[in-house]
């Protein structure tokens, strides 16, 4: 016993070093699996504050581009206004529906909440975005995030006033998506090298794909369906399989993103509960 203590005393430096290494490595691998870590909430609040201060300065240099994106979105929304469309004068019979349902409110599925980006990275292999909107303002874990141009990522960590988003530019991000024209579905991933290139796998070779085609989020993704993900820049046929892998240019410009919308799926709980119950029935 005495020898053990002597040994520890003699090599105390080394033992301490090994303990520190074990602590940090376990933090690292735990975090990547569960997207959570010790003190991440507290630290997120603190680093978020500093990033917010920094962003106040940085924001001015991108006002022009931000403005442009917002104007584009406004124009897009204006084009959707009802008063811009004239119904063709072909009605012959007016049918009054006897059941009156406020169809806009009751069946609202997605709620968009604007948020300011305070920190953003594109340079590492796992990129995260911090927004200054948190639990108190209605953001929850696993909500999806879109921008005016296309989809951005998923909320993975929330503190009281901040939230972090795993962006599309993350090695662990997987988004189910489909071709806008023909509807074949596949998975969008990022290989960690070039932030201008995403990869879309599992598109069958029977699909007709052209360069410049739009890829949108699919119906079984957690994003609102039909949001732009990217535009095809190259089509590669995988030799050993029946699938294409497509290279995409992301629709969202991750380099100067300043405003995003957090999307709340109001029917998510119901859908999840139903699917879970169905699954259970299946197993029995």
């Amino acid at each position: 016993m005495r020898n053990v203590f002597l040994f520890i005393r003699r090599y105390f430096n080394f033992v301490f070093f090994v303990i520190i290494q074990i602590v940090s490595l376990s933090m690292l691998f735990k975090y990547n699996r569960f997207h959570e870590a010790a003190f991440m909430g507290v630290a997120g609040e603190f680093t978020g504050r500093i990033s917010e201060k920094y962003n106040k300065v940085e924001y001015y240099f991108q006002l022009k581009k931000t403005n442009e994106a917002l104007v584009n979105e406004n124009a897009h929304l204006r084009n959707l206004l009802k008063q811009d469309f004239l119904p063709p004068d072909s009605t012959q019979k007016i049918v009054v529906d006897s059941i009156r349902i406020d169809s806009l409110e009751r069946f609202r599925r997605y709620l968009y909440m604007p948020a300011k980006v305070v920190n953003n990275s594109v340079t590492s292999q796992s990129n995260y975005i911090t927004i200054s909107r948190g639990l108190k303002q209605g953001v929850e874990k696993d909500m999806t995030v879109v921008s005016s141009e296309g989809i951005v990522g998923t909320v993975i960590n929330v503190s009281n006033n901040m939230a972090t988003i795993m962006s599309l530019l993350n090695r662990q991000s997987r988004v189910s998506s489909s071709l806008k024209k023909t509807g074949e579905t596949g998975t969008v991933e990022w290989d960690g090298n070039d932030p201008q290139v995403l990869t879309l796998r599992n598109i069958p070779k029977s699909a007709r794909v052209n360069i410049g085609d739009t890829i949108v989020s699919g119906i079984n993704s957690s994003y609102p369906p039909g949001q732009a993900i990217g535009y095809v820049t190259a089509v590669e046929a995988e030799k050993s399989s029946n699938f294409y892998s497509l290279l995409l240019k992301p629709a969202t410009n991750f380099f100067n993103i300043q405003f995003v919308y957090v999307v709340k799926n109001l029917q998510k709980e119901e859908q999840d509960a139903l699917e879970k119950a169905t699954h259970k029935q299946d197993l029995q």
């Binding site: 070093f17 940090s24 690292l28 292999q125 796992s126």
Partner: protein
């Protein structure tokens, strides 16, 4: 200015520079990511005990980790170079009692050649370990090798620029 205060200011300074300047540089190439922050550990005084060196490295790396949302990644590699630092200094510095006559490692206290070797070896170890930990999760071997060497080159360049911009004069201290 006392040594402690100086190092606390450096702590914050290096982290802010790494997070808000170097990490913001748009990627020129998939291989290149500029790292300068670990120079803080190379600049810590000679007189620190090895335990406190490792602990300082751990804290320093962890606070960077909370900015980049990768808890443990930089902490592991920082504590590794903090642990290896005293061995390397013992090998490189030959004349007696150098550690008592100067406060911290610098070209003016160690001489340029030993200092450059000191920097090259430690930044290589740091980058290799850091990229290795990333690579464990994804990537292929050639990517790993290329990234280690290019990152070490860029780190060396940045450190040399810093050394010449902020030349630290080291006073020769005597007992009297």
């Amino acid at each position: 200015m006392s040594e402690l205060l100086k190092n606390i200011i450096r702590f914050a300074g290096f982290i802010l520079i790494q997070v808000f300047i170097l990490n913001k540089i748009p990627p020129l190439h998939g291989f290149i990511s500029p790292y300068l922050y670990f120079l803080y550990i190379l600049w810590l005084p000679f007189s620190m005990s090895r335990i406190s060196l490792v602990f300082a490295g751990f804290l320093f790396g962890l606070s960077l980790d909370y900015f980049t949302k990768t808890p443990g990644l930089h902490a592991a590699s920082c504590s590794l170079i903090a642990y290896l630092r005293p061995f390397l200094i013992n090998v490189l510095v030959t004349h007696e009692g150098m550690g008592f006559n100067y406060t911290e490692p610098a070209p003016s206290s160690m001489g340029w050649t030993p200092y450059i070797v000191y920097i090259l070896v430690l930044s290589f170890i740091h980058n290799a370990y850091l990229v290795f930990l990333e690579w464990l999760q994804f990537g292929n071997f050639w990517y790993f090798l290329g990234k280690v060497f290019s990152t070490t080159g860029i780190s060396f360049l940045l450190i040399m620029i810093t050394e010449t911009l902020f030349y630290r004069k080291q006073k020769f201290r005597t007992n009297t």
